[in-house]
Symmetry: C2
Subunit: 285 residues, 2 copies
């Protein structure tokens, strides 16, 4: 194991993701601490043996002793935390995150960070429609992607450690992408899909539609039940990349609409065959 | 039981839906015949005891003896069949269908039909991503909707018989809508969702995206694997209603895009809360 088991891990933000990280890593034998807002989350996690200790305060000892710090916070809260509290970090500490956007966060953090602390960014592509440490699970990473987004400022060692963390957590696919590639990919695969789902869900308020709903509509709107605080922040934090994807989608949708207006059956069939062929690539392997 | 068990039922078009109808109705004891293109489908269905007899020809006896005829054909094939062969139907026969669009079909058929034969239209909202009588199943109707779309030309008796057929088939929800209401509803819940799925699947051909795909993207594109022949015809057959739904969707999507451009967090959060609230209505009961 690349990551030394004697290393002390601190999780900042003990929600669904932070709690799930803690659950898995504790099982390997790491000493796990947590800092989070609610005393109830700390109490629950200690009782359930998810963490060893924790605090709702900026406990200098907890922070100063941590070799690896995992930030599971909203993007702007993470940035503020580093701005205000980075002096408390241990010299030589490695910090990482779970933030779903990268370009607007990674460089900002790396630019302001003390030179004796390294930030290596990661995006665990896992989540559920519930939140809180009480819903954390050591199973949510199975089958999921874990993407490390290194920059020129990162050391090989930090990249390797961060990737090993992903493997320890149980992710099925651990890879690296540049922050830009990551944001493009996430803009398309995740953010655009959420934009589409909430649009579909709100564009027609006609009553009684639900009585006739089948699986197609349900599938397309499963993610229309959305955490508005988090997603509006993520959208804005990835504004340019997401706008590009929205434009790609809208242009194609207009093409289809024009073909329908002109009853261009051949054109529609061609698009549908393209769709069918391409969808096969995306089947679960 | 409203429908007399001694009535002879003929299914024209023995594919997935036609075969599934046959499977269930045969179990109740009806005499089931079928007319379909492929001899292999007939042979299979007789061997599996799904039908009593069948033909690939316009067998005058089979057609002339049927009290109830169920057409499970593509829309334009159904219209042509009636145009060319309605003289073969028994006087007093009741005919029904499984067509997924109504306005462009129902009046056309009723207007040209002999006065001694009644057409009552129905849309069984069930299907699978596979086709053919070999894939037929007596389970696909459970939990699904069956919509009868009567017009002024229909008798109470025919409407009741058609609804009873839906209940016998095992549909969980048997209702009536006007052809116009049906087409609006289907334009939104089914056709618009397919338009969105195929657009999403074809708007960005960047390589390697599939490596990072999560459940959201997979859910939104499950129906992007699509029968191009059938759906292009269904889209055109419901052109006006579908174009209206596409416009509603596009206008809302543009609103969201503008809010993102202007970083209007409050506006986006409001839309997301609306989405979340409305999605709750569509949960499976």
């Amino acid at each position: 194991m690349i990551v030394d088991i004697r290393k002390r891990i601190l999780i900042v933000g003990l929600g669904l993701l932070g709690g799930s990280y803690a659950k898995v890593l504790k099982r390997f034998g790491f000493h796990i601490s947590a800092i989070t807002k609610e005393q109830g989350s700390i109490d629950y996690a200690i009782k359930e043996n998810i963490i060893d200790d924790g605090s709702t305060e900026l406990d200098k000892e907890l922070i100063g002793n941590a070799d690896i710090v995992i930030f599971a916070l909203y993007p702007h809260v993470f940035v503020e935390w580093i701005e205000e509290n980075q002096s408390l970090l241990k010299s030589g500490a490695l910090i990482t995150d779970v933030t779903g956007v990268k370009g607007s966060i990674v460089y900002k953090i790396q630019d302001m960070l003390r030179p004796d602390v390294e930030f290596i960014a990661a995006h665990p592509m896992a989540g559920r429609e519930v939140s809180g440490v009480e819903n954390s699970s050591d199973k949510i990473f199975i089958g999921a992607n874990y993407i490390v987004t290194p920059t020129e400022k990162n050391t090989e060692e930090a990249i390797e450690t961060c990737m090993e963390l992903g493997r320890l957590l149980g992710f099925s696919n651990v890879t690296t992408l540049s922050p830009k590639e990551h944001d493009e990919m996430i803009g398309f695969l995740s953010q655009l899909t959420h934009c589409i789902a909430i649009t579909l869900m709100t564009c027609n308020d006609k009553e009684d539609m639900e009585k006739f709903t089948g699986d197609s509509f349900r599938d397309l709107t499963r993610i229309a039940r959305i955490n508005d605080l988090m997603w509006s922040e993520l959208f804005v934090a990835n504004k340019q990349a997401l706008l590009e994807q929205m434009n790609l989608f809208m242009d194609k949708f207009k093409e289809l609409k024009t073909m329908l207006e002109e009853e261009d059956i051949d054109g529609m069939r061609k698009m549908m065959r393209h769709s069918t062929e391409r969808r096969a690539l995306f089947d679960k392997k």
